[in-house]
């Protein structure tokens, strides 16, 4: 039996190729659709040149709608940024931040999105103030719960409380699965080794992560092992990452509407070595989640110094894994190669 949970892709995943002009928007959408990942999430300003400073061209937005229809896809989320540090030396005033969010709500609606994604550093008051406009436009604003933050962090609890108090159902959460990092990612370790971290220190950090040792102890131990520069940086990744538990999402299911299927590496046998997708899918099913899990490949930046990332192959592997975990009988496969 197939699941109520649906598969999608954040086009963030293909950034290495789109940055270089090796994949067009059509390539991204067609590739995702062929894999059966029909939910499309974008970072608006990555996909649409001009947004927000000088606006997205009508022709580009028309092209978006044409491609979504042609490949039978569904617009899911426009991830907005809200650059509240736009002005040097002073933060953007509150009312201007709210107006900026309203602008992104309108852009999300123009693209046919259901959701817009707010970065986790945005204050709850800004989102609450923008909620009535979101309701009018049929959009939900989802704050991305992303490592090092997590569902038990006071900042996220403040958001949850503000959302409840507002009474608006246009406010919710978009959890990034990177917060459930249960093992130190092999691609991170390999990168730090290339940067010159001694093997013994790299092995120690990986083991300490596995043993759930407090980050500050690991950093001190690495210093005492003679670690400098990149070795300290490797230990410091433990400050920003932890193996929080997927079941912590269960208290918030009524406000969780979209999922970032973050991954750093998919092996040839369809395993993400550091993020527990079997457990994640079980929890989401238990919680009655019916939205999209959107692939978010972030291994590119960890391997690009050594090899050219192959984002499409990485996304394909993750989609095969997700389809399996969701009980789909068909194995996702690509039909059209990307022209070089």
């Amino acid at each position: 039996m197939s699941s109520a949970i649906k598969r999608g892709v954040s086009l963030y995943s293909y950034q290495n190729e789109t940055f270089q002009g090796k994949m067009s928007l059509e390539d991204c959408i067609r590739t995702s659709a062929e894999l059966g990942a029909r939910g499309i999430e974008i970072i608006g300003e990555q996909t649409f040149w001009g947004w927000p400073e000088y606006g997205a061209a009508d022709a580009d937005v028309d092209n978006w709608h044409r491609l979504i229809a042609q490949y039978d896809c569904v617009p899911v989320s426009h991830d907005f940024m809200l650059d509240y540090k736009r002005y040097k030396g002073r933060e953007m005033p509150f009312e201007e931040q709210v107006a900026s969010v309203r602008n992104d709500i309108d852009f999300g609606a123009r693209l046919g999105m259901k959701y817009i994604r707010a970065l986790v550093s945005i204050a709850p008051e800004v989102l609450v103030a923008a909620a009535p406009h979101a309701e009018e436009r049929g959009i939900k604003i989802l704050i991305e719960v992303h490592a090092p933050l997590h569902f038990d962090h006071p900042w996220i609890i403040r958001h949850a409380e503000a959302f409840e108090k507002s009474g608006s159902d246009a406010l919710g959460f978009l959890p990034d699965m990177g917060m459930f990092l249960f093992a130190f990612p092999p691609v991170w370790k390999e990168r730090f080794l290339r940067l010159g971290v001694p093997q013994a220190i790299a092995d120690y950090v990986v083991k300490a992560y596995e043993d759930r040792v407090l980050s500050e102890y690991v950093i001190l131990n690495v210093q005492q092992m003679g670690g400098t520069g990149p070795a300290i940086a490797m230990a410091e990744t433990l400050r920003h990452n932890a193996a929080f538990e997927p079941k912590r999402m269960l208290d918030h299911m009524s406000r969780i509407h979209n999922i970032h299927g973050k991954f750093y590496q998919m092996t040839e046998d369809y395993v993400e070595p550091s993020i527990p997708y079997d457990e994640i899918v079980k929890v989401l099913q238990q919680g009655g989640f019916q939205g999209y899990i959107c692939s978010e490949y972030e291994g590119n930046r960890w391997i690009e110094d050594a090899e050219e990332p192959n984002s499409v192959e990485q996304v394909r592997r993750q989609q095969v894994m997700l389809a399996r975990l969701l009980g789909e009988t068909e194995v996702p496969s690509l039909k059209t190669p990307i022209a070089a």
């Binding site: 940055f19 002009g21 970072i43 990555q46 001009g50 927000p52 000088y54 940024m81 970065l119 930046r301």
Partner: protein, 124 residues
């Protein structure tokens, strides 16, 4: 990210009063120009003065000081901007160019500087 793709290969050219090359922002999105804090160009080990640097996209050219208050234009994702250095010009042949960009990102608790160094040849 994309650090090694900042300088566009083969893009070094002579311009009146100096030279230019194409540069990309090493980031998964673009940025409004007011958030570009500094662009530092080093040629064969010599840092070029900030005042000598110009940034041009889509037919508009800015000094780095001007960019700090530009709110209606941006350096788009993957966009090849023309980086101009008014240093009086370079001799033909190979030059080691280092291109460093410091940019202000709202959600980051630090201000990153990212750089790329490539050897580019200037045609005679």
């Amino acid at each position: 990210m994309m650090d090694n793709k900042m300088i566009v290969e083969g893009s070094l050219q002579s311009v009146e009063g100096g030279f230019s090359f194409l540069g990309r922002l090493p980031y998964y999105r673009g940025l409004g120009l007011s958030m570009i804090e500094d662009i530092q160009v080093t040629v064969d080990g010599t840092v070029q003065p900030r005042e000598a640097v110009r940034f041009a996209v889509r037919g508009r050219t800015y000094t780095l000081d001007e960019m700090e208050t530009v709110y209606d234009n941006r350096w788009n994702f993957g966009e090849k901007a023309t980086i101009i250095v008014l240093n009086g010009g370079l001799t033909p042949g190979a030059h080691a160019i280092t291109f460093a960009v410091r940019y202000r990102v709202s959600y980051l608790p630090f201000v990153p500087t990212t750089k790329d160094t490539k050897e580019l040849a200037l045609a005679a």
